[in-house]
């Protein structure tokens, strides 16, 4: 089963990478970009018997650093 983990910086945390992307979009002449935040997408191919609790555990123990990041789990087909 494919599961996607979206890792994003928490709200108050400065994102210099997002700022650089924003700046580059401005430089290319794109209008109306209010803000840019960059994150990570991690795709897991999991056996069917991996529980939700185990996926949560993977996120907390390695995939996200919860001091600075949030994560969202999206279970696919």
């Amino acid at each position: 089963m494919k599961t996607r983990i979206f890792v994003t910086l928490k709200g108050g945390v400065l994102d210099p990478q997002g700022k650089a992307i924003h700046h580059a979009l401005d430089g290319l002449g794109f209008q109306g970009v209010n803000d840019v935040r960059a994150g990570k997408l991690i795709e897991l191919d999991l056996a069917d018997d991996v529980s939700d609790a185990q996926i949560e555990d993977m996120c907390r123990k390695l995939l996200a650093n919860t001091v600075i990041e949030n994560y969202k789990i999206e279970k696919g087909a």
Binding site: L14, P16, Q17, A20, K61, L62, L63, N65, V67, I68
Partner: protein, 221 residues
């Protein structure tokens, strides 16, 4: 006195750190590969070097913090064995949960590689006893992810407990409250982004880093 330097794949300051320790103690540290599972008995100091372990994959220090040797380092730190993490070593210590906070991408995006002015915030620790509180020193930095972040409650707590060892005395990387080095609640773990091992003799351009090793290695002898 027995000391150890942990070597991760992608460490690049392990030799410099070993030279600094040997210069001051007269005895070379044991170099321990990250895949080891046990530490030698009777270690007086465990040192984690700078570098770009695992290519900074996922987050700086994230993969190294989960290596098998780090389980032994966390156990040893819990027993009070002194642990010093420099640069990538600091990132590994925060990822391993031995120190609070996280090291983020520098606020100015650029890699910063130069000598910087620091202030010694706490001269009462085993790491800083040879410095005076408030003393200005110069130590080089070389990092991309040195922007120290922790929530305000954590920052208030570590400041209140005297656990900020060093602060930047100039704008370097956007670190919260200019924090350059943090000590654990037990007092036996220090993580810092600047490289004291690169400033231990006049030929390095200065020796402001030397007293960190002298004081520490005397304290644990």
């Amino acid at each position: 006195m027995k000391t150890a330097v942990i070597v991760f794949p992608g460490s690049n300051c392990d030799r410099d750190l070993a030279v600094a320790i040997e210069t001051i103690t007269g005895t070379a540290p044991v170099m321990l590969w990250h895949g080891e599972t046990e530490l030698p008995a009777g270690l007086g100091l465990i040192a984690l070097p700078g570098g770009f372990s695992y290519g900074d994959y996922l987050r700086s220090g994230a993969m190294s913090a989960r290596s098998s040797i780090m389980r032994a380092v966390v156990d040893a730190a819990g027993r009070g064995v002194p642990v010093l993490g420099i640069c990538n070593g600091f990132q590994v210590l925060t990822e391993a949960g031995l120190l609070p906070g996280a090291l983020m991408r520098n606020a100015g995006i650029n890699f910063v590689c130069r000598d910087v002015a620091l202030t010694v915030d706490n001269s009462q620790s085993i790491f800083t006893s040879r410095y005076d509180a408030g003393e200005a020193i110069t130590i080089p930095v070389a990092h991309h992810d040195g922007n120290y972040f922790a929530d305000d409650a954590t920052l208030d707590r570590i400041e209140g407990e005297g656990r900020v060892a060093f602060r930047y005395a100039e704008a370097v990387n956007g670190s919260a409250r200019n924090i350059a080095g943090v000590i654990s609640d037990g007092g036996n773990v220090l993580g810092m982004m600047p490289h004291p091992e690169r400033m231990i003799e006049a030929a390095h351009g200065g020796d402001d880093g030397r007293r960190l090793f002298e004081g520490l290695l005397e304290a644990v002898a």
